[in-house]
Amino acid sequence: MGGVGMRSLGVPGNIPIWFFVGVLLTIYGALIGGHGVYAWVTHESSVVVLANLHAAVWWGGMILILGLIYCVKFFPRQQR
């Protein structure tokens, strides 16, 4: 997708957008999935419909995995 390759980090614009996407998804996945697991373990009461499906856990988990994949795949590297 991004076609990043080895680039100089000192030059603005060389961190690919996909890395930013990965970072944001990772943060969101950790926050949402983490809270979902906490709520599941502590039996936190919920007012939403289908709370028994624990959407925060699997949706947050999927976002986290996707984010990590993007972070690793598009991690900006110094130009050789």
Binding site: G13, V21, L24, I32, A39, V48, L50
Partner: protein
């Protein structure tokens, strides 16, 4: 509810309805600290991107065209994201609740053919002539007067629409979260001003890609959980049929043989020719807001692939917009367990406290717990900000290249024009804020501001199509075709406002509703634009053929493109899109 002209401009014309909603109830949702953290993280990221990219936008090519370095994927996602306003999400989810699956036409026939046409046929001309903007193309093809007319029309439209969007988003935040309107306006507009002003188009595009991902991450869960609760598609359809007897909400084409046979009051001819051709092609191929994203592609093949990639995602958008509206018809309930009926904006009352436009937030509140709700709200904000950034960055380019440079300062250094572009971004945001407050204090002008948009695109399509595909079209023909097309569109609009019975003549049926007016007004103004351009051209002197190279089909030598494997060829993917498009229309016929 006032409906949009096409899916891309859905938010623009459904705003009045959103804004008109009196808050008959308390806020819909309450945010937890986790939700606030999710929203704050988003703002921190978009601002960081703006600061990070500021030094990569020091030349005009970098600031206004992102250095023409974008890959097909980035340009394609940005292309779709720039027109996916949050109010499009809310407005069309509401339309789906009101009109059913007919609203999907604005995403499929109202977008896909035009996107393919832009990529395969028109993009080579935009790209080869190296224009900075659509008015810039008009200048090359028809001369300065056409450029100035289009540039002023476009600049005014962009700023006013940006202001209307801004205010509408603030009202949505007030209704959904109880936020102060001024706080919402300032927070979102300042963020956009900072990241576009610093990083130019590159920053806008980066953030649009980010926002596109967030929109899907935040909104996709709603239809998934909705389908689980409804028991799947077929059970949902059965429940709709049971709950709303005599009304068809699930067929795209079956009931469009007559104006009064479907809830939208439209005829298939209006959908195919008015929406599918004039409005859709006008928006997707001539509106600089979207075309600018594709011009930033790094080569011609990427520029051609970008709209095709975008079309795949555009076809999928109904899943997160239309489907939640349909699901709302069967799953939303009152506290006592009875079916909740949403109503039109004018019928909101204590008995019916929620309008059609609130269906998406209501669905979000129904399914999304802490964190996920913050992500859903972030998706709405991301949609709004991507649309606003699109408006502002396009305005800055048109202002600098098509108004400031030809009319105010013809020759200046490159850095001067970049500075003008940065200040134009700030100016655009400030004027947008002013427009937002103007609308706040005179909500009645909303309809007129939104109609502005429809006045320009159809005549502009006529001028651009003839300019690009008819070498006999002259400068005078292009200018007068554009001008009289705009004037005829305005006249038809005013005529129907002064005499509502005129709608039956504009839309050629006594059963036509307001939606049909939009479709047919566009069709007539397009035809008038074409006719005037042709007639005037026949009596005026055309440009020599040699001057049309790079501008007109048949006399332009397109650059050689290196052969690529079949799976990288734009025509292969266009065929896949056509097959999917046809299949979906048949499936939901």
């Amino acid at each position: 509810m006032i409906l949009a002209l096409n899916a891309g401009i859905a938010s623009r014309l459904s705003l009045a309805a959103v804004v008109a909603a009196p808050p008959m109830h308390g806020q819909l949702a309450h945010l937890t600290p986790l939700d606030v953290a999710v929203i704050a993280t988003y703002f921190a990221m978009v601002l960081f991107i703006g600061f990070y990219l500021r030094q990569a936008s020091s030349t005009s090519e970098q600031f206004f065209l992102a250095g023409r370095e974008m890959t097909a994927w980035i340009a394609g996602l940005s292309f779709v994201s720039a027109n996916m306003g949050s109010l499009e999400l809310m407005g069309w989810a509401g339309s789906a609740y009101q009109y059913g699956i007919l609203a999907t036409h604005w995403y499929w026939i109202g977008a896909i053919p035009a996107m393919l046409f832009l990529g395969l046929v028109m993009m080579p001309f935009y790209y080869v002539c190296k224009t900075h903007s659509v008015p810039g193309y008009l200048k090359l093809r028809f001369g300065e007067s056409s450029r100035i007319l289009a540039a002023f029309s476009f600049a005014i439209e962009m700023i006013l629409m940006s202001g209307v969007n801004m205010f509408s988003m603030a009202v949505v935040m007030k209704v959904v979260l109880g936020w102060n309107i001024t706080f919402s306006i300032l927070m979102s507009s300042l963020a956009v001003a900072v990241y576009v002003g610093l990083g130019g188009l590159r920053s806008a595009i980066y953030n649009e890609v980010l926002q596109f991902v967030l929109i899907w991450a935040g909104a996709l869960l709603v239809p998934i959980l909705g389908l689980v609760e409804a028991g799947g598609w077929h059970k949902m359809v059965a429940k709709i049929a049971s709950n709303y007897r005599g009304q068809d909400y699930v067929h795209l084409w079956r009931d469009t043989g007559h104006f009064n046979a479907n809830p939208m009051g439209v005829h298939w001819t209006g959908i195919v020719f008015g929406l599918g051709f004039v409005i859709s092609f006008g928006y997707w191929t001539t509106d600089f807001l979207v075309v600018q994203r594709v011009l930033a592609a790094r080569n011609l093949r990427a520029a051609q692939m970008a709209p095709i990639i975008g079309s795949f995602f555009k076809m999928a958008v109904p899943f997160i917009v239309i489907l939640p509206g349909l699901l709302g018809l069967v799953v939303l309930q009152n506290p006592d367990g009875t079916l909740l009926h949403l109503v039109g904006e004018n019928h909101v009352s204590v008995l019916h406290p929620h309008s059609f436009n609130e269906v998406l937030p209501l669905m979000m509140v129904r399914y999304l717990g802490p964190g996920l709700l913050g992500l859903g709200i972030t998706a709405l904000m991301a949609g709004f900000m991507s649309g606003m950034a699109g408006n502002v960055s396009a305005f800055a380019t048109v202002w600098t290249y098509d108004i400031y440079q030809p009319l105010i300062r013809k020759r200046a250094s490159d850095s001067h024009y970049v500075a003008v572009g940065r200040w134009a971004t700030v100016l655009g945001v400030v004027v947008s804020i002013g427009a937002a407050y103007l609308v706040m204090h005179a909500a009645g002008i909303m309809d007129y501001v939104q109609a502005l948009f429809s006045f320009f695109i159809a005549p502009l399509l006529g001028a651009i199509l003839l300019g690009m595909f008819w070498k006999r079209a002259t400068a005078a023909g292009g200018f007068w075709g554009l001008l009289l097309g705009i004037l005829s569109s305005v006249s038809l609009f005013v005529w129907v406002r002064m005499d509502p019975s005129a709608l039956s003549m504009v839309a050629i049926s006594p059963d036509a509703k307001s939606m049909a007016e939009n479709l047919y007004r566009a069709l007539w103004s397009f035809l008038i634009s074409i006719a005037v351009t042709v007639i005037v051209s026949m009596f005026t002197q055309p440009k020599p053929i040699a001057e049309l190279d790079g501008l007109v089909y048949g006399v332009t030598k397109l650059p050689f493109q290196e052969p690529v494997p079949w799976y990288q060829n734009q025509w292969f993917w266009a065929v896949i899109v056509v097959i999917l498009f046809a299949g979906l229309n048949i499936l939901f016929w």
